[in-house]
């Protein structure tokens, strides 16, 4: 499957690159265009003396260009792909020049090397080295544990103070108290809790909505639950321990995850959600295994003003092995080296339309991991409807599922469905659904639009 122009532009790191990329997509700028089953390539005359060599490996898709731009993919890569999408016949050559085949080869070698290195890492060390490594790791862990415990003690005191004084007077107190608490938690290596404290602070000072105390109380209650849970970590099932530690801020390294056995399937990208914080941008891409029906989530991050890496495109399908991060309810994944874009459009099974079964699935998920906030939900045959105040989805048996009040594209969903049954993918948090994609008449419309809520 070749991507459409719109999908290609969705890979651009920012709107300016998308615009520049589309300006590069005229044939007059290119020479030596060629394509075969794995890759596209071409020469683009830029401002330099020698033309830039741009190439794309279709399976990723991955881009490479010799231009000095720090954007990725750069405008030449985007332009080349756009030109291919519009006019594949112009890519006359089928024999890859050396610079293309070398690159493809080196990519292959690199992934092989990586796998080999992982395997070597286990075997290459002598028992003494391993013991020493383990010891230093243990030392680090102990230190961190001490740090986190100190942070949690402060957090507990702070929560007790809040409980004693109540939330009613919070808005007249300075917002920087919350920032200070969050900073304190970051210092004690509990970044996950810090993010929650910031979010609660935002709910207090960042909105003028009535009933603001309820979401704040939920957030604080979760903090208390996590803090209490950590004290009893040893009594918990091993998998749930991982979830709790992840919620507090422990990060499992990707290499560790990749070392575990993976799960092979064809993975359909159902929707993506982008969230910008002032420090970190975060994008979650949700995938569903077509054969297993399993949910998976790929997280992408970027720091500061850097653009996020290119997203997975909703509606595309990737084949290969995904490695799940450990947890009671494994969702987050790392991509195995063998994952590649499925070239042909796939026939996805029709989504479930029994709302009660889906709600039960969510209840089960909460039973397994009570720290989970939301869970993917794919609803078939639902009609979006507007009752004058808020949108909801109506199943064929008349059951109503509300959309979250913070969801901004209710009218867009309504326009696409037109009052007829459609499939909606979203995240259910127990109170409302945050739609991330809607399909009607055989077409998938992603609702990412940089932050849906």
């Amino acid at each position: 499957m070749t991507l459409t122009a719109d999908q290609i532009l969705a890979l651009a790191p920012d709107p300016a690159s998308a615009k520049a990329g589309s300006a590069q997509s005229s044939q007059s700028k290119w020479s030596g265009l060629g394509a075969h089953a794995q890759a596209l390539w071409g020469l683009c005359q830029g401002s330099g003396k020698d033309p830039y060599k741009a190439q794309i490996e279709l399976a990723g898709p991955s881009f490479k260009c010799t231009c000095p731009s720090r954007k990725f993919p750069c405008k030449h890569g985007l332009g080349l792909y756009l030109l291919y999408a519009r006019d594949a016949a112009a890519f006359g050559q089928a024999d890859a020049p050396a610079w293309v085949s070398d690159w493809l080869q080196s990519r292959e070698q690199r992934s092989e090397k990586k796998a080999a290195k992982l395997a070597d890492a286990e075997a290459a060390h002598t028992p003494e080295e391993l013991a020493a490594k383990e010891q230093s790791q243990q030392k680090r862990q102990d230190k961190r544990q001490g740090n986190v415990e100190a942070g949690l003690a402060v957090l507990d005191t702070w929560l007790a103070d809040l409980a004693r004084d109540g939330l009613a007077g919070l808005r007249s107190k300075p917002a920087k108290d919350w920032e200070a608490m969050a900073a304190r938690l970051v210092d004690t290596q509990a970044a996950g809790l810090a993010a929650r404290v910031r979010r609660a602070g935002m709910a207090i000072y960042g909105s003028s909505a009535a009933n603001w105390e309820v979401p704040v109380a939920r957030e604080l209650a979760q903090l208390a639950l996590l803090s209490q849970g950590y004290r009893r970590l040893a009594n918990m099932p091993a998998a749930l321990q991982q979830d709790l530690k992840a919620a507090i801020g422990w990060v499992v390294g990707q290499d560790e995850v990749l070392a575990e056995a993976g799960h092979a399937d064809r993975w359909l990208v159902c929707g993506i959600q982008t969230q910008d914080d002032e420090r970190i941008s975060r994008r979650a891409c949700y995938l569903r295994g077509l054969d297993s029906g399993r949910w998976a989530m790929l997280l992408q991050f970027s720091a500061g003003a850097q653009p996020l890496p290119p997203p997975l495109l909703p509606g595309t399908c990737h084949q290969g092995t995904l490695h799940f991060y450990p947890g009671a309810l494994p969702l987050r994944v790392a991509f195995g080296a063998d994952v590649c874009l499925v070239p042909d459009p796939v026939q996805a099974p029709p989504p479930a339309s029994d709302v009660n079964a889906l709600l039960a699935e969510y209840a089960n998920a909460l039973a397994v991991n009570p720290f989970a906030e939301h869970y993917p939900m794919l609803l078939g045959q639902v009609v979006p409807q507007f009752d004058g105040a808020q949108f909801s989805l109506r199943a064929s048996d008349g059951t109503l599922l509300p959309l979250l009040p913070s969801f901004r594209h209710g009218w867009q969903v309504h326009a696409i469905a037109g009052g007829a049954p459609a499939s909606v993918f979203g995240l259910w948090n127990g109170y409302g659904l945050l739609p991330l994609a809607v399909s009607a008449h055989g077409r998938l419309h992603a609702l990412d639009g940089e932050r849906v809520a």
Partner: protein
């Protein structure tokens, strides 16, 4: 999330002031939380209630019948939709009006996924709203009818709601309604305005009166004559403006008589004209708008002369003196007060093409706009904004003439470009060729682009015909031209936009 009232109270007031009651949590939970402190119990109770409610969410059942769905009527082809998505993403956003015009020309409705962004855009930009409203299609109208704010704004354009809006709408809606009523039935619309006129506040009068320009005829004259006696200057000015452009109006007749008293015309082999300045501006003249504004660089009396000339259609002079327009112009150009006389003449020629221009009015306009600099005034640029009121064929002929002589007339190219820029539709193939050739000639003679060249090229990119692009590939300087580095970027941008427009036009021809 629902909290038990006593839990909610404790949450807001603090457990120190509002201790957690026995009833705030279920007994089973109470037993579990018996040993924890009061403060911690508050948070644990909230957490438990939260989990409990999320896991046990009970969906409600719809009370009403399902409203009938809106059928999926055909919209534009997929290819055209993809082009629109690119435009909405910020790739060539300046071509949005072009896309909408093409959709209207092909009689195709907006794609469903683009409805909401375009409706929202129309809410922000009233100028775009009418265009969007025409393309909503069945799905769009269905959607708009359910949204309170949209239905109010988008219904304003609907002719059916005219009389409601005329009676109950805000001022902007009433203006639109009045114009729509004028289009349908001018005398009835005039009667409606007349009935309300006495009660209208001044601001409404000022805004509503110019709406009569739509379908203006002698039938409106009596009403406008009355408006000349209005208390407010702005209302009087609007009425004067309308009457001055109305063929056969009494205001024109009065000004003709005043000018006849000042002009001494000598009809012999070489016609001679003597012009005296008006001595005074009496009450009747003031009522007709003479001397209502100062004219820069002109004496007071010369200004009166200008105002008088402005109110007399130019055909009057060619008929009275039995002279061709260019002879009249030449004669006026010999006068001492030629600036006042000619400026007034030019303004009246512009007014004369406003309302159903006759052949005479068009001839005058064409002669004046083609007048060379011999008069000492830049008549062409004075008339340029009104050029679009002429029949299209006439406009194209004028522009064609400019472009043909653009090699030696320095401003002809910029006039043609300014005209092309104001048009909403793309040019026909032959003016496109000429315009591009003129641009290429100008470019070849310059070592590097001037600061304004970027906007010129952008205007070209929007205006040139994009049906075929063969002509646009040709006649550029050879690849080895020494000044290419300075020009390359501009030319590339132009070609890229033309290609985009070419794709856009072709996309509407694909099968939906």
């Amino acid at each position: 999330m629902n909290l038990h009232p006593s839990l909610h109270k404790a949450l807001l007031a603090g457990v120190a002031r509002a201790p957690l009651g026995q009833d705030s949590t279920p007994p089973a939970l109470q037993a579990l939380l018996a040993h924890v402190s009061d403060q911690a119990r508050l948070w644990h109770s909230v957490a438990a209630a939260d989990l409990w409610q999320r896991a046990g969410y009970q969906p409600s059942k719809a009370a009403q019948q399902l409203a009938p769905a809106c059928d999926a009527a055909a919209t534009c082809p997929r290819a055209a939709e993809q082009v629109l998505q690119l435009i909405l993403r910020g790739i060539h956003p300046e071509l949005l009006p072009g896309w909408l015009a093409l959709a209207a020309a092909h009689n195709m409705a907006l794609p469903h996924a683009a409805l909401v962004p375009l409706i929202e855009l129309g809410m922000q930009k009233p100028a775009l709203r009418a265009t969007v409203a025409a393309l909503l299609g069945r799905r769009g109208n269905w959607l708009v009818s359910q949204h309170p704010a949209w239905s109010e704004s988008y219904a304003a354009i609907d002719d059916g709601a005219c009389s409601t809006h005329w009676q109950l709408g805000n001022l902007a809606q009433r203006c639109v309604a009045l114009q729509a009523m004028r289009r349908a039935d001018p005398p009835a619309a005039l009667a409606a305005l007349q009935a309300e006129w006495a009660q209208e506040p001044v601001e409404n009068r000022i805004a509503l009166l110019p709406c009569l320009a739509q379908g203006l005829s002698l039938h409106d004259e009596a009403f406008l004559e009355n408006a000349l006696d209005d208390k407010r200057k702005e209302v009087r000015g609007a009425a004067q403006q309308l009457l001055a452009g109305l063929p056969g109006s009494q205001l024109a007749a009065r000004c003709k008589a005043r000018l006849a008293a000042l002009f001494t015309f000598d009809q012999n082999a070489a016609p001679q004209l003597q012009v005296a300045l008006p001595d005074a501006c009496d009450k009747a003249m003031k009522r007709d708008g003479i001397g209502s504004q100062a004219h820069q660089g002109m004496g007071e009396k010369a200004g009166w002369l200008l105002d008088l000339m402005r109110c007399v259609p130019p055909t009057h002079w060619s008929e009275t003196w039995q002279l061709a327009p260019r002879h009249v112009i030449a004669m006026l150009a010999r006068q001492e007060f030629r600036a006042a006389l000619l400026t007034g003449l030019v303004q009246s020629a512009a007014l004369a093409v406003g309302v159903q221009p006759g052949a005479g009015a068009v001839e005058w306009f064409v002669t004046l706009i083609g007048e060379e600099t011999s008069t000492g005034l830049n008549i062409t640029s004075m008339l340029l904004p009104d050029l679009e009121r002429l029949p299209l064929a006439e406009q194209e002929r004028i522009v064609q003439r400019w472009l043909e002589q653009s090699a030696d007339a320095p401003h002809a190219y910029s006039y043609a470009l300014a005209w092309a820029e104001r048009r909403t539709q793309a040019l026909a193939p032959s003016p496109s060729r000429l315009l591009l050739a003129a641009a290429q000639r100008k470019m070849a003679a310059k070592p590097q682009p001037a600061y304004y060249e970027r906007s010129h090229f952008a205007a070209l990119a929007r205006a040139l015909d994009a049906g075929t692009l063969d002509y646009a590939q040709a006649n550029w300087p050879a690849a080895g031209w020494e000044h290419w580095p300075q020009w390359r970027e501009l030319v590339d941008e132009l070609m890229e936009t033309l290609h985009f427009r070419h794709t856009m036009q072709a996309s509407f021809l694909e099968k939906p």
